[in-house]
């Protein structure tokens, strides 16, 4: 709808007000708005709470946001495809625990990462294959597979995972760390590079264009030489891959393995993608938007905690803010507009 509006006004009249309005409704407008909101929230925090913009606070904010941003890459891709991935928190937990365990068993850490990521990608591919090939809602498939994965990990570690990450992984994500002369750990610039790459892949590669097309109209995909099963397998395995990377980074961040470390990411990744302007019906969304959504969520969280809200109240406010934001710019079309 929004894109249509942008086009029409472009053709019809160039009234500034109309342009601004349709611009805000357009995809880029949504992203811009989400960034603006993050900025305003930060400003409010700086004015209301002393030390909100202190170097340490900003470092912490950036690192926490970076971790959520990595976890949300997969959700972004899957949502553009028209799916949803509930297995992300379970894969995060799997990678977190298994990496720690194997590293504790004196495996080479590069080999550990390779192993964990490959297994995660196979699980992801299975998610995609079952969902698309048999036309079962990915919500159910990823939930079921996720439960199996979590149960298997718990069974293997008997509920008491052990081990840790090598020091360089901890340094990579440590809030006190620094990337050469830069005042934040390497995870932040690394994410910036990764984000640029993801944006480029989505906008400028055959895979990216096929991803949007398939999400936009699955019924037309096969005739346009897109193989839906292959795309779903690839995309869900990418989602699992980034979840596994998040799990490994979290191992460095928290210092010890914890099977439920991924649980907050279940709804946070979805919320970040949605606040960033993607529609869960497929064909729309962007990783830049997700980054904006991640910043908004992290800012709200930090701000409310800084204002002395209890965790419960923070959660409630977060829910209200998500609804508010999405009701401003994430509305769907009325059924009469789809005929």
């Amino acid at each position: 709808m929004s894109v249509v509006e942008t086009g029409r006004t472009g053709e019809a009249r160039s009234s500034l007000a109309l342009r601004i309005r349709s611009g805000l409704a357009g995809t880029n407008g949504r992203i811009l708005m989400a960034f603006l909101i993050a900025g305003v929230l930060h400003l409010v925090g700086t004015l209301a709470i002393s030390g909100y913009s202190s170097p340490f606070a900003i470092r912490a904010l950036l690192v926490i946001a970076a971790l959520l941003a990595v976890a949300s890459i997969g959700q972004t891709l899957v949502v553009i495809l028209g799916g949803i991935d509930l297995s992300i928190p379970f894969i995060i937990g799997f990678a977190n625990v298994v990496a720690a365990q194997l590293y504790g068993d004196k495996w080479n850490f590069a080999l550990v990462c390779l192993f964990v990521i490959v297994v995660a990608m196979l699980i992801g591919a299975l998610n995609g294959y079952i969902s698309r090939r048999l036309d079962i809602h990915p919500l159910i498939v990823t939930l079921g597979i996720g439960m199996i994965v979590q149960g298997a990990v718990l069974l293997w570690t008997k509920g008491f995972p052990s081990g840790s990450a090598p020091p360089y992984v901890s340094a990579f994500v440590s809030i006190g760390g620094s990337a050469g002369p830069l005042p934040f750990p390497w995870v932040v610039p690394a994410l910036a590079v990764l984000a640029t790459l993801i944006v480029l892949v989505l906008a400028r590669t055959p895979y990216g264009r096929r991803l949007y097309a398939l999400g936009s109209n699955p019924g037309a995909a096969t005739l346009a030489l897109i193989d839906p099963v292959r795309m779903w397998m690839l995309t869900f395995s990418l989602s699992a891959m980034f979840a596994a990377v998040t799990g490994i980074l979290l191992l460095g961040f928290t210092g010890s393995a914890y099977g439920d470390v991924g649980q907050p990411y279940l709804f946070q990744t979805i919320a970040a993608v949605v606040v960033g302007g993607a529609a869960l019906v497929g064909g729309r969304g962007s990783y830049l938007g997700t980054i904006a959504g991640v910043l908004v969520l992290t800012e709200i969280n930090t701000l409310l905690i800084g204002l002395g809200f209890q965790p419960a109240a923070v959660q409630a406010s977060l829910g209200a803010v998500i609804i508010l934001l999405v009701s401003i710019y994430g509305r769907e079309r009325h059924v009469s507009m789809t005929i």
Partner: protein, 319 residues
């Protein structure tokens, strides 16, 4: 007579996929493993034990039947919210202990939250999963704020609803749904679930029908919340959320299509009973909760796969 019965059974089996087969198998296994637990004298507490999950699954179904991504993930937190309000605010603080005060209040809360979800998804037109994720977070947070720690007890009559009278709330739920099924509303809901554009063109008020589905889900979730309260006999702020995903799993297991328009509440409750019985079997084997979780996931995935394969086979026979 027998033929008609068999046909009904056949129809039910088709609608519920493998859930019914699974139900029979699990029931037999349970009876063999643990006859004492399934004695008629134990039925009251057994049903009470299964009731919250059945209630949650039944509550999740109406909005899913309405299609176009309809889903309510706030069902679990709403159950917890009702649990907290009933015990903490109504019973302990306000001293209301009569069922005639508590039950209407609970249903009203359910209807109100359902109406909020309905308004957000149909009037504001937010994606159902996002809107109810918002209410999920709000309800969870508010519940924790009014009830920071578990507290008890519950009124005696309420506890009896998980014991000797445990069938009562379930009967009430099914009677309500049985009535709805006889209204033109039900046909409209199923029609928009399978094709909302066609239904809209045919003059169905899609917005109103979907809105009401959310209210029904809210009211049913409140009943499930009462059943949960009866079962635990206290208030616990952290117990509700767990029901969300497992109830959606039960619904899918029971052959309700997440795309809408196909399935029913009987299927949803069969799915829920499957999960309950599975839990019971595995507990009888004395396996760890980890194996239980693997089994949940595996059965869920296997059941939806088998149902999908079966449907495919049926479709290709038709062509």
């Amino acid at each position: 007579m027998t033929k008609a019965f068999l046909q009904t059974l056949q129809g039910l089996r088709r609608d519920t996929g493998f859930a019914l087969v699974l139900l029979v198998i699990l029931l037999v296994v349970n009876l063999i493993l643990n006859p004492a637990r399934f004695q008629p004298s134990a039925w009251g507490s057994l049903i009470g034990l299964a009731a919250p999950l059945i209630g949650a699954a039944v509550a999740s179904a109406p909005v899913i039947l309405g299609g176009r991504g309809g889903i309510d993930i706030s069902v679990g937190p709403l159950m917890g919210f009702v649990n907290a309000i009933v015990i903490q605010l109504l019973f302990l603080k306000a001293g209301i202990s009569s069922p005639f005060g508590i039950i209407p209040a609970a249903l009203l809360i359910g209807a109100a939250i359902g109406a909020i979800n309905g308004a957000l998804t149909t009037l504001v037109r937010i994606q159902p999963i996002v809107a109810t994720l918002g209410t999920y977070l709000v309800l969870t947070g508010v519940t924790l704020t009014i009830l920071p720690a578990p507290i008890g007890p519950a009124p005696g009559w309420l506890k009896a609803l998980a014991g000797p009278w445990s069938a009562l709330p379930l009967i009430a739920l099914f009677a309500a749904w049985w009535t709805i099924r006889r209204l033109p509303y039900y046909d409209q809901l199923m029609a928009i679930g399978s094709d909302d554009r066609a239904a809209y063109t045919a003059g169905v008020d899609v917005t109103r029908v979907r809105f009401i589905a959310y209210v029904i889900t809210g009211v049913f979730a409140a009943v499930a919340g009462l059943m949960l309260t009866a079962l635990i006999g206290s208030a616990d702020p952290n117990i509700g959320q767990a029901y969300t995903l497992i109830s959606i799993a039960a619904v899918a297991l029971g052959g309700v299509s997440l795309a809408g328009g196909r399935g029913g509440l009987v299927g949803a409750s069969i799915g829920a009973i499957d999960i309950f019985l599975l839990q019971s079997v595995l507990t009888a084997f004395n396996v760890s909760t980890y194996v239980l979780q693997i089994a949940y996931g595996a059965i869920l995935v296997a059941a939806v796969i088998l149902t999908a394969v079966q449907e495919r086979a049926a479709r290709s026979r038709e062509v």
